[in-house]
């Protein structure tokens, strides 16, 4: 069969248009695995909800799995997702080192892996991690509390609720706290460091013991807002749950920026909160996937600068606080 030049040109144009549409469709039809280790706090619950919404808006399909703090189970979940030939794996691992074999498996299958909010330990395996600048955000939060303490005058007995000592976020937040209080030893004396292991039960018992040992604790920082209900319960039992400006108020700082933190800031019990910008972190994670699919190689660690919100600037900043969005939904629902 002889092909004329005109027929060839038309055919080539049709083929090109067809392949373009296939490419556009392929962009929209990405399948991304969302592998969480738990939904133990509002931060993770809101995180997965924002991811679902944003993925849907992009026309992506999401496959979800939760490992309940089991590293081995999560590795199996990664292998299952690789077998399903997903286009990307977003993972929140429990242990920074235990996830490395999973990264290697994803690398071998040429599937991009993005760590959400918790970076892996250093290795030669390649993946991208999105993380809040925990140390800096905590420093800013505690700095604000110290400035309040200086304004009010007097000496302060401080207590910190530390997270899981195997979690890099918990360590960075603890370090951010000590960076500031160690420079202000003249007015702040840290009398209790409570290892909560991100466990409400341990946080409750630890704080109760700390208040028993030091009934004059008046400066309290938690490494996560999800421990607020236990803190409220303990402080109420000790008759120390008072609003800012009331006698006996405990200077109280939080971290995360969840709906409970928003409510307590609004009610006057919480003085400052280091907010992780959850919306930005999801955008950064999905942006990293798009870059990786486009053949780019983003940095291994991308930082969310976060911000501090206080009772003074609550109205001005609350729209950036993810907990405020959740709080508004709860008020409607």
């Amino acid at each position: 069969m002889q092909v004329t030049r005109r027929a060839f040109t038309v055919g080539a144009l049709v083929a090109a248009a067809g392949s373009m549409s296939v490419m556009v469709k392929a962009e929209g039809n990405k399948t991304v695995a969302l592998l969480f280790d738990s939904l133990v706090s509002p931060f993770w619950v809101s995180g997965i909800e924002i991811m679902r919404e944003k993925a849907k808006a992009k026309g992506w399909t999401t496959l979800e799995n939760i490992s309940n703090f089991d590293d081995n189970k999560q590795f199996e979940q990664v292998k299952a997702m690789i077998s399903r030939k997903v286009d990307g794996i977003l993972i929140i691992q429990t242990d920074a080192k235990a996830v490395i074999p999973a990264i290697r498996a994803a690398n071998a299958a040429n599937i991009p892996m993005v760590h959400f909010n918790r970076p892996p330990a250093k290795s030669d395996a390649y993946s991208v991690a999105i993380q809040a600048d925990n140390r800096k955000i905590m420093q800013d939060t505690v700095n604000f509390m110290v400035s309040q303490a200086k304004q009010m005058g007097g000496k302060y007995k401080a207590c910190i609720l530390i997270g899981d000592l195997g979690d890099v976020n918990a360590i960075q937040r603890r370090d951010g706290f000590f960076d500031v209080v160690n420079k202000n030893k003249d007015i702040i004396d840290v009398v209790a460091r409570i290892a909560t292991e991100w466990n409400a039960d341990k946080a409750f018992a630890g704080l109760t013991n700390a208040i028993q040992a030091n009934p004059d604790i008046n400066f309290l920082v938690t490494s996560s807002d999800f421990l607020h209900p236990q803190i409220e319960q303990v402080l109420k039992a000790a008759n120390k749950w008072h609003k800012k400006g009331e006698a006996g108020h405990v200077l109280f700082g939080g971290f995360d920026g969840d709906e409970g933190a928003y409510a307590r800031l609004q009610d006057g019990y919480l003085d400052a909160c280091g907010v992780q910008n959850l919306f930005l972190e999801v955008d950064m994670a999905f942006g990293a996937f798009e870059d990786l699919w486009a053949g780019k190689k983003p940095d291994k660690l991308l930082l969310d600068p976060g911000f501090v919100i206080t009772q003074d600037d609550l109205m001005a900043k609350r729209d950036q606080m993810w907990g405020y969005t959740v709080w508004k939904k709860m008020q409607k629902g």
């Binding site: 738990s38 939904l39 133990v40 706090s41 509002p42 619950v45 939760i66 309940n68 703090f69 530390i162 000592l165 840290v190 009398v191 209790a192 460091r193 409570i194 290892a195 991100w198 466990n199 409400a200 039960d201 946080a203 409750f204 018992a205 630890g206 109760t208 013991n209 700390a210 028993q212 040992a213 030091n214 999800f226 209900p229 236990q230 409220e232 319960q233 109420k236 039992a237």
Partner: protein
């Protein structure tokens, strides 16, 4: 006291001696440790572990084990927080306790009727229970009504509600074990189930009952805990079986059945909480917590495993054959 008597004394009273050493050590490090207020605080925090450990004592006394107590707590908490929250407490709490009883009854039924080893049965129901609770809660935190939280902070006649619950469960368990036929039969089954069966004791009924008791105690312990911590997240009750079994063994109940009692269990629960309290009171390095707690639990379990044989050897009568 000669060397043999000293050894006997130390072996019989190892947990008490350990407790005294800890009291002295923490008391020297913190001037607020040895106070009435702190002791009350320790008992409040030991209450939920102690209540569950009392149930575990019944199970260990017959030579069984229940690894599912933490899962039972989580199921009860999830159902209470999600489905029973609108009911008044005098209705919702008994219903939640009945749920715990049902959980224990499933364990008992599998162990006695299907003749599956208790370890395997309760390990399975641990996973099934947590799975059910995770399904109900959607993996999210479950909150409770202000009435439940107020109950957790309440005191009656100057005694906190958690201590009342602990005391009531202890009294019921103590009377059951020491004053009833059921209690005597339970010890007999634990010491030698074959002999107990030959003596006319319905061994299956006793075994089934102790798993039901453990289920009820796990539910009550869960209710006490949730009224204190205010929420039940997916870690609620997680790995609770370890401190519970440790408290029971620390209190002198044998892992092999037939020996022990609930008075010792209360002591064991208080001892474990004393360690945790002392570490916080002395502002110890948080990295030390698991190390210190696990060393103490190891000592307790090691002493239990070696105590029986050493005691038998030391208490054996020496018969001297006179030469003609």
């Amino acid at each position: 006291m000669n060397g043999r008597n000293t050894k006997l004394f130390v072996l019989r009273n190892t947990p008490v001696l350990l407790f005294l050493v800890l009291l002295a050590a923490f008391g020297l490090m913190s001037d607020r440790f040895l106070t009435i207020g702190n002791f009350v605080n320790i008992v409040i925090q030991a209450a939920h572990i102690g209540i569950i450990a009392i149930g575990m004592t019944f199970v260990l006394l017959i030579g069984g084990i229940d690894l599912s107590v933490g899962a039972n707590m989580y199921v009860v908490a999830s159902v209470l927080g999600l489905f029973l929250k609108d009911l008044p407490l005098p209705v919702s709490f008994p219903l939640a306790t009945l749920l715990g009883l049902a959980f224990g009854a499933v364990n008992g039924w599998i162990v006695t009727r299907l003749r599956v080893a208790a370890f395997i049965t309760t390990l399975s129901t641990l996973f099934v229970g947590r799975g059910i609770a995770l399904y109900f809660s959607g993996n999210k935190m479950v909150g409770f009504t202000p009435q439940i939280l107020a109950l957790g902070r309440a005191s009656y006649f100057g005694v906190p509600s958690a201590i009342w619950a602990f005391a009531a469960v202890f009294a019921a368990a103590y009377v059951t074990l020491s004053q009833t036929t059921f209690g005597r039969q339970l010890y007999a089954v634990g010491a030698d189930p074959d002999a107990a069966g030959k003596a006319g004791i319905d061994v299956r009924r006793i075994v089934f009952s102790v798993y039901c008791i453990a289920g009820v105690c796990a539910a009550i312990g869960g209710l006490v805990s949730l009224s204190q911590v205010a929420v039940a997240s997916s870690t609620f009750g997680l790995q609770k079986e370890f401190p519970v079994i440790a408290a029971t063994v620390l209190g002198g109940t044998s892992l092999f059945g037939g020996r022990g009692g609930v008075l010792g269990t209360v002591f064991g629960a208080v001892l474990i909480q004393t360690v945790e309290n002392g570490l916080v009171m002395t502002n110890a390095d948080p990295y030390l917590y698991p190390l210190v707690i696990s060393v103490i639990i190891f000592i307790a379990v090691f002493v239990d495993s070696s105590r029986t044989s050493i005691l038998e050897r030391l208490e054996r009568r020496q018969i001297r054959v006179e030469r003609a």
